[in-house]
């Protein structure tokens, strides 16, 4: 019945102008042009359908084989709104949405993330351990954020490969002596994973260590995160938490009576001699690092995630004393945006092998944001408080990790579907060093 009415409606539109052809030459020309265009488009659709049926090797049901006309030409076309949205979507090139059947060989999907920022601070002395990616610099100016490419490919229905490459502007990554500024390429993640089922997946590779939330929720995709920067406790290039992990990981999820328990168990090389680096060229000792991470997402509180982790390694740092490292962490996240709440805590314990005292360094942050309901929900103000304390006794962290407490207040504006502008003000109070105030503007995007 619906089809009949649609046909009648279209016929009613077309019938009257065609009936008046002799009286209106302009209308006749318009109809002829439209008919020609329809013919052209129909031919093009037929060509594409032929190509499609030749290249796609997806299994076709007997019903579809028996009725090829029906299978290839939907009897009811999509609604105008759906068609317009589909065209927009095609132009926007939404990366993860798959519109074709799987190919016979591996198909690689590529996506990218990037950012540009402008920063101005009143920092005029030593930065006290803050990394360049924090944008805390003695000079104001523009900064090129990381250029990140993500590649993913399904080798079979159960085996997949994922990688993330970054190009990062550094003062010493160029050529010449001394080295000029340039871009430093890095394989941030490279993972091959076998999925047995939802409960058990095993993978090997280089990961972002799954011992806290931020590190594995946003990775290098600054567009995904609300703020311009990561919290300092999980900053790239920072040392408080081992951001990267080389080894193997077992993960999975189980309903657990509506709690939705997720877990990760990992075994890997642990930190390198430079503590901010993973053991990419092999372990620096004969002791593997291991980790256990678990979190729940209860059905009854959709949006809530609560979890915790334990990590253990033995360190042989360039600076500081060889010793044992334990990390315990916990997080609470309300992932919806009205409001969005993220809070994490970590305790890093160092015990020197030579019998020195055990030192505990702590860090936490709490971030609150709210997607405002007006103006198409494009605006999202946020506030974050963060804190790191490294005791005098922790000689391993003392020169590497800044002790401070800081506030960040900002506003995110989603200027386009895949681009955001963020404006931020930060006030950091540092131990034994002057406070820092800074203003930052960034645009983050995915493509």
């Amino acid at each position: 019945m619906r089809r009949v009415f649609l046909v009648m409606g279209i016929a009613a539109v077309l019938a009257t102008p065609s009936g008046a052809q002799s009286a209106d030459p302009e209308m006749r020309q318009l109809v002829e042009r439209l008919m020609n265009r329809i013919d052209t488009l129909e031919k093009r659709v037929a060509e594409l359908e032929q190509q499609n049926s030749a290249t796609h090797l997806a299994p076709v049901s007997p019903a579809a084989q028996a009725a090829p006309q029906t299978a290839q030409t939907p009897a009811i076309p999509p609604s105008p709104a759906e068609a317009i949205a589909a065209v927009h979507q095609a132009h926007e090139q939404a990366p993860p949405l798959e519109t074709t059947a799987p190919q016979a060989g591996p198909t690689m999907h590529i996506a990218g993330f990037g950012s540009m920022a402008f920063s101005a601070t009143d920092l005029h002395g030593p930065n006290g351990g803050f990394q360049p990616l924090t944008l805390l610099s003695t000079h104001s100016g523009f900064s090129e954020g990381q250029f990140v490419l993500q590649f993913s490919s399904a080798l079979t229905s159960k085996v997949s490969v994922f990688s993330e490459l970054s190009l990062t502007a550094r003062s010493d990554a160029g050529t010449g002596s001394p080295a000029a500024p340039g871009f430093n390429p890095e394989v941030e993640r490279l993972i091959i994973r076998y999925d047995w089922n939802d409960y058990f997946k095993i993978s090997f590779g280089r990961y972002h260590t799954p011992i806290n939330y931020w590190n594995t929720a946003y990775h290098h995709g600054t567009w995904l995160q609300t703020t311009i920067d990561r919290p300092e406790m999980t900053q790239f290039g920072g040392s408080f938490i081992p951001v990267h992990f080389v080894g193997m990981l077992v993960e999975g999820a189980a309903p657990a009576g509506g709690l939705n328990l997720n877990y990760n168990v990992g075994l890997g090389n642990g930190r390198g001699q430079v503590l901010s680096r993973a053991g990419d060229l092999g372990d620096i000792n004969n002791n593997r690092a291991w980790l256990v991470n678990a979190f729940v997402r209860p059905d009854q509180l959709y949006g809530l995630q609560i979890g915790g982790s334990v990590y253990r390694d033995e360190l042989n740092p360039l600076t500081g004393l060889p010793g044992r490292e334990w990390i315990e962490s916990a997080h609470v996240v309300w992932a919806k945006e009205t409001p969005e709440f993220i809070s994490e805590f970590a305790n890093v314990s160092h015990t020197p092998f030579n019998g020195g005292v055990t030192s505990n360094s702590q860090a936490f942050y709490s971030q609150l944001a709210y997607r405002l309901p007006f103006n198409q929900k494009l605006w999202k103000p946020y506030y974050r408080f963060e804190y790191i304390h490294v005791p005098e006794s922790d000689v391993t962290f003392r020169v590497l990790v800044p002790s401070f407490e800081g506030s960040t207040v900002g506003l995110r504006y989603d200027a386009a579907s895949f681009a955001a502008i963020k404006v931020e003000f930060r006030h950091y109070i540092r131990r034994d060093l002057p406070s820092i105030n800074g203003a930052f503007v960034a645009t983050d995007f995915t493509f």
């Binding site: 649609l6 409606g9 009613a12 009811i76 999509p78 993860p96 798959e98």
Partner: protein, 164 residues
């Protein structure tokens, strides 16, 4: 002939008639606002709780069995069924939904996002052709050959059915 009646007969009346007929054609009758969850015949499930459905739609549950992967089929933006699913199951806006799947792929939790289909017929054809497929369609237009899954023990049209 006066200009106005001519204009009315040639342009406005046919357009108004088309709009009315199209609107009437889109009205699916009582209970037609419900969205049916359909799966390919090989899926060993007849009933899902609403939280289970949400886990499937979020890509958190990716396997029906160890050898049967869940393939999500998603109507393109603008479809009423998609709006109902976004509002009731995902509780997300279109922008949030897009960001959710970009992030999920970026976290290497899934290989790709849902497949996009542009009509109920296309959803039906894809679901029939894809083992483990899960799609949602207007309850008044369930394609033949697909299994309609109960949600919380209820079929579309029954009182308390959550997807409408």
């Amino acid at each position: 002939m006066p200009i106005l009646p001519t204009l009315w007969l040639r342009r406005i009346f046919p357009l108004a008639a088309a709009v009315c007929l199209t609107a009437f054609a889109n009205y699916a009758g009582p209970g037609g606002d419900d969205v049916a969850i359909v799966v390919s015949p090989d899926v060993p499930v007849d009933n899902l709780s609403f939280p289970e459905l949400r886990r499937l739609m979020l890509g958190e549950k990716q396997y029906w069995t160890s050898n049967l992967h869940v393939t999500l089929l998603m109507r393109a933006p603008g479809a009423p069924e998609r709006e109902i699913v976004l509002r009731t199951v995902y509780q997300m806006s279109e922008a949030q939904f897009r960001q959710y799947w970009i992030a999920k792929v970026f976290r290497a939790e899934v290989q790709s996002g849902p497949r996009v289909v542009y009509s109920s017929e296309m959803a039906g054809e894809q679901a029939l052709a894809t083992p483990g497929a899960l799609a949602f369609v207007d309850a008044a237009q369930v394609p033949k050959g697909l299994k309609v899954v109960k949600i919380n023990g209820l079929m579309p049209g029954q009182k308390g059915y959550p997807l409408h």
